[in-house]
Symmetry: C2
Subunit: 140 residues, 2 copies
DNA sequence: TGACAATATCTCAAATTCAATATATATTAA
DNA sequence: TTAATATATATTGAATTTGAGATATTGTCA
C-alpha cells in the first residue's frame, strides 16, 4: 500500500514519454498538426517517397489509422498519393512542394525542442541511455 | 535524407515506450481491460481510496477521460464511487471486493511481464537509467 | 495452370481521447 | 454576508484509434 509502481525504471520510462507526448502535442497544435500527422511528415521528410505500409511500420500505428491520417494530410495538400506501377496493391506517398516547405520551417524548431529535453545529459550519458533502451526494446 | 531521427535517445525513448504500450494492451485485453482502466485499478490497488482528481493526476489523462473510465469500471462492478462528506465536490473511488480479488490475480503476472523488459539491465544500469530519465523529465 | 496463402490498402463500427463548457461546492476578500 | 474566484467532477461533441473484415493484387507450389 505504498509505492504506486515497484519497477521504477518502467514507471519513469512511461511517464516521461507521456509527458513528452503531451508537450509535443501542444507544440504541434500551433501548426494545426496532430502528433501522428507530424510523425508521418517526419518520415517522408527524411526518407523521401514511402509506401503507406512503410510509414505505418515506422510510426507503429494500425492500417486503419494510416488511411485516416493520409486522407487528412492529402486534404490539406501537404502530401500526395501515387500509384505504384510495379505492384498495383501499393501506394507511394510523397510530400508536396508546400509540404516540404512547411517541414523546412517546422523541423528546426522541433529539433530544438526535442534536443532541449536532453541537455542535462552528457554525450556519454546519452550513449548509455541509448544502450539501455535498446536492451529494453529487445525484450518487449 | 538518411536517418529518420537525428536525436537517437529521443527516438528510442518514444519507440520503446510505444512498443511497451502495445504489448501491455495485448496482455490486458485478456482481462478485458484497457490500459487506462488498468492504470486506474493499479493506483487504487497500491494507494487505496483516491479521489478522481488524484487518480487523473497520477495517470495523466483529462477529466473527460476520467469520467468515462470510472463509469466503465463502475459498470463492471470493479470499483465504486463514494461521496465525500467533508467536501461535497469530491468523489472517492475504491476497489470493490471483486476488484481487489481481480487485481490480486492480475498483478503478479503483470509485474513479471514488466520486470521481464528490464532483465538485461544490471542493478547499476537500472539506477543510471532512472537518473537519466529523471533528468529528461525535469526538462519537459 | 489453378488453388491457396500472403500482402497492401481501405471501410466501418466501436472505443477512447481531449477540449471546452457546465454544474455544484468551497474559499477568499471586501 | 456577498461577490468573486478557485476547485472537483460531469457532460458534450468532435477527433482519433483500433480491430475486424472487404477488396484487389501478387506470390507460391503442386
Amino acid at each position: 500500500m505504498e509505492r504506486i509502481c515497484t519497477n521504477q525504471p518502467f514507471f519513469l520510462l512511461m511517464q516521461t514519454s507521456k509527458a513528452i507526448q503531451e508537450r509535443l502535442r501542444d507544440e504541434m497544435s500551433k501548426n494545426n498538426l496532430s502528433i501522428t500527422e507530424f510523425s508521418v511528415l517526419e518520415v517522408l521528410y527524411y526518407q523521401g517517397k514511402q509506401t503507406i505500409q512503410q510509414i505505418g511500420n515506422r510510426i507503429l500505428i494500425s492500417s486503419g489509422s494510416m488511411t485516416y491520417v493520409i486522407d487528412k494530410l492529402e486534404q490539406k495538400g501537404i502530401i500526395k498519393r501515387n500509384d505504384c506501377r510495379e505492384d498495383r496493391r501499393v501506394i507511394h506517398i510523397t510530400l508536396t512542394a508546400e509540404g516540404m516547405e512547411m517541414m523546412d520551417n517546422i523541423m528546426p524548431m522541433y529539433q530544438d525542442i526535442v534536443d532541449s529535453f536532453f541537455v542535462d545529459l552528457t554525450g556519454d550519458e546519452s550513449q548509455l541511455l541509448v544502450n539501455f533502451l535498446k536492451k529494453v526494446w529487445n525484450r518487449v
